[in-house]
């Protein structure tokens, strides 16, 4: 066991865990966050995605000890139900989900990619999401929502 201070969604938290513990378990079990979810535990699906220092990161394969003082943002850190972030608003506008379990991967991967590549083409966006899975296959609406957000943020 070891003590870590994590900066999550703008707040600091002290946790006392095995350093090898994947960040995902710390976020969901110690800090009660609901955004990142265990989908595969293998880095293959994206359901556990959080943003670490601006990078979309698969928290299921990221040991808590490797995060350091970097700022972590989860899906709930982006916006609230009353004041959703623009990309979340775009998903609401397009009704771009079915079960919603995959959304951390879809939304945070798209957002971090567009933050770095504001003028990305459709193909580039698709490429960026080629490792994110949605088994309800909300693809059409999700890509539309992402394009909506991309065009809004560049105007």
């Amino acid at each position: 066991m070891a003590t870590f201070t994590l900066r999550v969604n703008g707040r600091s938290h002290q946790v006392d865990v095995d350093p090898a513990t994947p960040l995902l378990f710390v976020l969901s079990d110690e800090l009660d966050l609901r955004g990142p979810k265990f989908g595969c535990g293998l880095g293959q699906c994206g359901a556990c995605t959080v943003v670490v220092n601006g990078q979309a990161t698969r928290s299921c394969v990221t040991p808590v000890s490797s995060v350091g003082q970097n700022e972590i943002t989860t899906l709930e850190g982006l916006g609230t139900a009353d004041a959703p972030h623009a990309i979340q608003q775009a998903f609401i506008a397009e009704q771009a989900a079915q079960c919603g379990f995959c959304l951390s991967g879809v939304i945070l991967t798209a957002k971090t990619f567009l933050d770095r590549n504001p003028r990305a083409t459709d193909e580039q966006i698709q490429q960026a999401l080629s490792g994110v899975l949605c088994r309800c296959f909300g693809n059409g609406r999700m890509l539309k929502a992402i394009r909506r957000y991309a065009s809004e943020r560049t105007v």
């Binding site: 293959q44 899906l75 709930e76 998903f91 079915q98 379990f101 490792g131 899975l133 296959f137 059409g140």
Partner: protein
């Protein structure tokens, strides 16, 4: 009982009608069958629930209205991502005449909601939106409220109207009484009234509109609580250790191998069920990995390459759905007989979140939080495994990841229950990705022989279907916990498959619930003809054999496999007689609504009548083509036609779907955008299943165990432009829309590939390697 729950858990219970407030002064009468003495004391009386999914005939089981006018509605059909929660809110709002935000809908909790069996088979609309159950409860309640107001105001009911939570005088709407003043806090004490009038879709103001999903905001902002997020105080974490091979049994478990690991609470062994419980999820995971279990060797599996020939050789249970008795003689006499065989592999649900459940088994009582589609059946079967009375087990539905049928939700509920019972504390279990994928109940593998005869005018005169499919277990229902892996491991057997050859002659009118029969046959049994088509010489014979793997309903179960064979074969025959595939289908149908769906799709696609393959076939580069497929889903639960445009690459075997047109008639539409969302998702899932998905195994075990070994399309896959034509049939009954479209994706694509290349694909999935082999074999 609520004192030992965390705020989260309390909130979950609160949603399910269990806050103190709701007991004491909340929304009217809460109907309870759960035997917790505290609850029964508070509420006074427990109502008997309907059994075996028949719902309830008592209005109070469905709807309660508080003094504040707040309406609480109870449903046994649950939301799992298909939009049903919102649609049911619309239904209650419409029928009871109350704004949606004044309704609290409680779904699937064995202590308060009626037993409606399982939410599946796109049956929720037929169950709750037509002339029974929740819809009828709404109508009964509205009419009862009007009668009460009539007595109070001394005017005839005909002069009154219900709206916005009030009953008002038609001639003077300012004279009104709020619902809360009429019934608030009391029971209706009425039976559902079969004569109560449903509102006609023409009068709808809430139903029939694209109300946005009420859970959308919470989902996209990460606040929605899945069963995976549920916390119960004192909760431990369990992990299961499944056998390494199919059929392997425990010979010994070395508990010392994990004794020194941090946080370990207990190793649990029950028959071949092995699990560990630890303080933290990560500790449980590591303990499960390190626990040394000696297993016997499994049963050798026949090679995957021989799957389809092996299916034909096993003892089978034979069923004849239709048999006109003249098929053999007429085929023998026919000048043209065509035959083809179609192959469909096992496929998996592959939920994006591995399944999870939380159980709290305390002595004689148990509470299970589960994403099962079947709270009552799960209550009964869990009770069997725990050795408890069914009435002592409460199953509360909490949503999981999209399931598309029976994923691991039922089995993990048993896992959690068994582990919690062993430690006497609440236990949460989430399966590993591999345990989810290696042991779920797959969609059945099928091999299907089709034979037809063509008469002198080019019409089909005989249709002969014979299929072999593999099955093991399935939904546990109310008494077969062995139908899923955990039940089996602790010693319950799957429901037996009793071989039967030959099949008895059909003696009940055709029920095409599994789409075993093609749409084009007359379906004559005795004096009835329940088929959708005109072919009168007909035989539909199925052989069910035992699968080494568990199987169970996977979105459009069996309907999808059968329809693949029917719709591709219809296309083959049309091509053989050089007929336009749309016209040829219509010629063999005797079903106005399916024909209308076909015509609507053809019109939207600007379908140009001509036979397939296309003229001037090109045998290099990228070849384009179009294909059609259609189905009367489950015989009478939605009518849908799809046209796919594809481009096939002769060099790589890659298929690109370049456009989809779907026309669907599901009766009166409750929520057009919700229906579109289902058709879109179903269609893209259909593309994924048609092009890549296939369960694989070696000589002892499943090898498709993660997202590298089971192919699925990613979010980066940009779906083809999709044109969806909703045929809103306001005078008919409501039908489902979650499963119809996926049923016809593979045949529409396969037929389009034939149109483009002249090469027929008869085996799903159409992987580039397989397509390339077929293309090369043809040239």
């Amino acid at each position: 009982m609520s004192h030992h729950f965390s705020p989260d858990a309390r909130q979950a219970l609160g949603r399910a009608g269990f806050t103190r407030r709701s007991f004491l002064k909340g929304s009217g009468a809460i109907v309870v069958a759960f035997s917790s003495s505290a609850i029964v004391d508070t509420l006074g009386q427990a109502f008997a629930q309907g059994i075996n999914g028949t719902g309830s005939t008592q209005l109070d089981s469905w709807i309660a209205i508080g003094r504040d006018g707040l309406v609480t509605a109870y449903t046994g059909k649950c939301e799992f991502g298909q939009g049903l929660y919102t649609a049911q809110l619309q239904l209650v709002a419409e029928e009871v005449c109350v704004p949606m935000n004044r309704i609290r809908l409680v779904q699937c909790d064995t202590s308060v909601t009626p037993d409606q069996g399982t939410t599946s088979g796109q049956q929720s609309h037929p169950s709750n939106f037509n002339t029974a159950n929740l819809a009828l409860a709404g109508a009964t309640a509205r009419e009862a409220l009007i009668r009460m107001a009539s007595a109070k105001l001394g005017v005839p009911p005909a002069d009154l109207v219900a709206r916005d939570g009030l009953v008002a005088l038609r001639s003077n709407p300012s004279r009104s009484i709020p619902f809360g003043d009429l019934i608030g806090g009391q029971r209706f004490d009425l039976q559902l009234d079969r004569a109560a009038t449903r509102k006609h879709p023409r009068e709808w103001t809430v139903l029939g509109t694209s109300v946005p999903r009420v859970d959308m905001r919470d989902m996209v902002t990460g606040r929605f609580e899945f069963v995976h997020n549920l916390k119960v105080p004192g909760m431990l974490h369990g992990r299961v250790v499944r056998p390494p091979e199919v059929g392997a049994a425990v010979s010994s478990v070395d508990e010392d191998s994990v004794r020194d690991l941090p946080g370990i609470v207990k190793v649990v062994v029950k028959g071949n069920f092995v699990g560990v419980v630890a303080e933290k999820p990560w500790q449980a995971m590591q303990a499960a990995e390190k626990l040394r279990v000696n297993w016997t060797r499994g049963t050798p599996l026949s090679p995957q390459a021989d799957l389809y020939s092996a299916l034909r050789k096993q003892p089978a249970r034979d069923t004849l759905l239709v048999d006109s008795g003249d098929v053999d003689t007429r085929l023998a006499a026919a000048s043209t007989v065509l035959r083809s065989t179609y192959f469909h592999p096992y496929q998996m649900h592959g939920s994006i979140g591995s399944s999870c459940a939380v159980a709290d088994v305390q002595g004689e009582k148990a509470t299970l939080w589960s994403a099962t589609q079947s709270v009552y059946p799960t209550r009964n079967t869990s009770a069997m495994l725990l050795g408890l009375k069914a009435e002592s087990v409460r199953v509360v539905y909490v949503r999981g990841a999209g399931c598309y049928g029976i994923n691991g939700a039922d089995t993990v509920t048993y896992d959690a229950a068994l582990l919690s019972q062993a430690v006497g504390r609440p236990v949460r279990v989430q399966l590993s990705r591999k345990d989810e994928m290696a042991w779920e109940n797959y969609g059945n593998a099928f091999v299907i022989d089709q034979r037809i005869a063509v008469d002198a005018s080019g019409n089909i005169s005989v249709w002969d279907y014979e299929a072999w499919s593999a099955a093991r277990g399935g939904r546990p229902g109310y008494n077969n916990p062995g139908n899923v892996v955990t039940g089996f491991l602790v010693g319950a057997n799957p429901a037996p498959l009793v071989p039967r050859t030959p099949a008895p002659a059909p003696d009940t009118p055709l029920n095409n619930g599994f789409n075993t029969a093609p749409s084009y046959i007359a379906g004559r049994v005795g004096n009835s003809a329940q088929g959708a088509g005109v072919i009168r010489s007909e035989r539909v014979l199925s052989h069910r054999v035992l699968s080494p793997f568990f199987t169970g309903p996977l979105r459009a179960p069996e309907r999808l496999q059968n329809t693949f064979a029917h719709e591709c074969f219809m296309d083959e025959v049309a091509a053989h007689v050089k007929a336009d595939p749309v016209e040829y289908r219509l010629r063999h149908l005797n079903h106005a609504r399916l024909s209308a769906a076909i015509r609507a799709a053809a019109k939207a696609a600007n379908w140009e009548p001509r036979p397939s393959p296309r003229p001037g076939l090109q045998r290099t580069g990228r070849a384009a083509g179009r294909g059609i497929a259609c189905v009367c889903y489950e015989g009478d639960n939605g009518y849908v036609a799809m046209i796919a445009d594809v481009a096939v690459d002769w060099n790589t075997g890659r298929i690109e779907v370049t456009r989809l047109v779907v026309a669907q008639d599901s009766g009166p539409i409750s929520n057009p955008d919700g229906m579109r969302n289902q058709i879109e998702g179903g269609s893209i899932q259909g593309i994924s299943r048609a092009l890549g998905e296939e369960v694989t195994w070696d000589d002892r075990k499943i090898t498709s165990i993660d997202w590298r070994t089971y192919r699925t399309l990613s979010v980066g896959f940009a779906p083809p432009p999709m044109e969806i034509v909703l045929l809103n049939q306001t005078d008919g009954e409501a039908m489902g829309s979650g499963e119809a479209s996926i049923t016809i994706v593979a045949p529409a694509i396969g037929n389009a590939v034939f149109d483009a290349t002249g090469v027929r694909l008869r085996e799903v999935p159409f992987t580039p390697e397989r397509v390339l082999r077929a293309l090369r074999a043809s040239s």
